[in-house]
């Protein structure tokens, strides 16, 4: 098993931490992982992206120019990464940040209205966890239990009370993601 994922959107959406939770969960299941952020003078509102690779074998390059799965959370990221998805690969996007929807016909396309769902749950900060839930529905890379354990391990104890709300957000994401196109 090898899955190469790019997560891209605005700084402040929780993209890097979503990738980190995915990577940590995979590590806890015994996989090899790399988490490579586009680091730079990043800021809230600027573009942010992270490449997460999960594999059963040693991972060579942490830097990639094509991906199995792209999670796209704003228009500039769609323009940059839609073309980088391998034929037969998967695109997941939140309509909220997208004014011109994807046009590729040779990939699987899923839509998740995570921004709306998080707002409805009165937990806008859990937006990234709703998206993660969507990803795990489409690509069951790690179990929900591993995510729970990863959150417990990575969050400082004072934030442990927030774990159930995060798990709820992931489950919500699993429910609401919808398929728009099969490759």
């Amino acid at each position: 098993m090898k899955q190469e994922v790019i997560i891209a959107g605005f700084g402040g959406q929780g993209i890097l931490s979503m990738g980190k939770i995915l990577a940590y969960s995979a590590l806890m299941e015994g996989h090899e992982v790399t988490w490579m952020p586009a680091y730079g003078p990043e800021q809230r509102g600027g573009t942010a992206n992270v490449t997460v690779i999960v594999s059963d074998r040693r991972i060579s390059s942490p830097i990639l120019s094509s991906f199995d799965t792209a999670i796209i959370l704003n228009q500039p990221s769609l323009e940059r990464f839609e073309k980088a998805i391998r034929p037969g690969g998967t695109l997941i996007y939140d309509e909220y940040g997208i004014c011109q929807p994807p046009t590729r016909t040779d990939i699987n396309i899923w839509r998740i209205n995570a921004m709306d769902a998080a707002a409805e749950m009165q937990n806008p900060k859990a937006f990234n966890m709703v998206v993660l839930g969507g990803l795990l529905k489409v690509q069951p890379l790690v179990s929900l239990d591993s995510v729970r354990r990863a959150l417990t391990k990575t969050l400082p104890e004072r934030h442990h009370a927030l774990i159930p709300a995060n798990i709820e957000a992931i489950e919500k994401g699993m429910q609401i993601i919808e398929n728009l196109q099969r490759a």
Binding site: K20, A23, Y24, L27, E32, V33, T34, W35, M36, P37, Y39, G40, P41, I59, S60, S61, P62, I63, L64, S65, S66
Partner: protein
């Protein structure tokens, strides 16, 4: 038995945690992207409360390296870290340490240059590090990690070499290795050396005179004959190191018709490209130097008699390629591919490059 701890860590975090665990006595550093997590992680871990390791945010890189000079002179395992322009500032201290034969570890998480350059990854400091970097005839160890795990593993190795040969050791990393997170098996805790152990293992160190002659640690002598003898001693030390301490890794080289030579993050990206090329029946393998100084001259010379060509892939304009050409001495063609200024090649890009040069 103590179990080894497995963590998801940035290369920078791995190096900081490994330093605490390998009995480091002191860290002195000044923040600069892309390596600030080293100082930040040490500040969060507060090792002064556990192992007694000192952590100081110095006022500048010059202060940092001179604190390393002072700590090393007393036989303590001390270190600093910085990124390219900061390491440039440290060169005076490094040459003084080489001259006075003072051990210490310097971590360079490289970024693009020249000058203040950019904060993205680069391997543009190969010359700076492998040629000494400061004034006079000297070398320092240059170790090139290619993963977060190696960032952790090379820490103790660097201290071991620095003390075995009484000279500075540089861990030459880059922004990619420093910033990415990977699975890291942390080394087990090793206690810091006691004052008695230091006095026994480092009889040259300034540990308090007591009942012996003064230990004088200086790079200065106004007697040219003394200074030439000292240089001859240093050169003999470097000869011995070239003979004993070269380390490299070989991947898919047994049946290789062409050899790639790359280090650090460039080697990781090249490895991915080699996997693709192998699927297309291009028989390439890779030699990855773990020590850039001492350089694996003999190994590369031997390959140059077997392979059709050697391709050097670096994230610079062509620096290590000079050492390869000096090793090959015209026995086979040597090509180079590099990116600069913080741009990093992609695996697809390297597949094209390898296809062009190696088939």
């Amino acid at each position: 038995m103590e179990e080894q701890e497995i963590r998801l860590l940035k290369g920078n975090e791995a190096i900081a945690l490994a330093a605490i665990r390998c009995g480091c006595d002191g860290y002195f550093g000044y923040p600069i992207t892309p390596q600030s997590e080293i100082l930040e992680t040490l500040a969060l871990e507060k090792p002064w409360e556990t192992t007694g390791m000192v952590v100081v945010q110095a006022e500048s890189e010059l202060a940092s390296i001179n604190m390393v000079y002072g700590g090393g002179a007393t036989g303590k395992r001390v270190m600093t870290s910085s990124s390219s322009p900061g390491v440039a500032l440290m060169q005076e201290g490094i040459t003084y340490m080489a001259g006075a034969e003072i051990p210490g570890v310097i971590v360079n998480v490289q970024r693009g240059g020249p000058g203040l350059g950019t904060i993205q990854a680069s391997q543009g400091d190969y010359f700076q590090c492998t040629r000494g970097g400061g004034n006079g005839d000297y070398y320092v160890f240059v170790l090139a990690p290619a993963s977060a795990q190696e960032m952790a593993d090379f820490m103790d190795w660097a201290f071991t070499l620095a003390f075995r040969y009484r000279m500075p050791a540089i861990i030459l990393s880059d922004g990619v290795i420093g910033q990415m997170m990977e699975k890291v098996v942390l080394p087990l805790f090793k206690p810091r050396r006691t004052d008695e152990e230091i006095a026994r293992e480092c009889p040259w160190a300034a540990t308090g005179r007591k009942n012996r002659r003064n230990n004088i640690l200086t790079s200065l002598s106004l007697d040219p004959q003394w200074m030439e003898n000292h240089n001859l001693h240093l050169q003999e030390k470097y000869r011995k190191i070239r003979e004993c301490e070269v380390r490299y890794e070989e991947t898919l080289t047994e049946d290789a018709e062409h050899l790639i030579v790359a280090f650090g993050s460039a080697a990781r990206i090249a490895e991915n490209a080699i996997e693709t090329c192998r699927e297309r029946d291009i028989r390439v393998g890779m030699l990855r130097p773990l020590t850039l100084w001492p350089f694996p001259t003999d190994a590369i010379r031997q390959y140059s008699e077997k392979v059709k060509s050697i391709l050097c892939i670096e994230i610079n304009a062509g620096q290590m390629v000079e050492d390869i050409r000096l090793s090959v001495e015209g026995r086979c063609p040597v090509n180079h591919y590099g990116r600069m200024g913080g741009m990093v090649p992609t695996p697809e890009e390297l597949v094209q490059v390898i296809t062009k040069y190696c088939s």
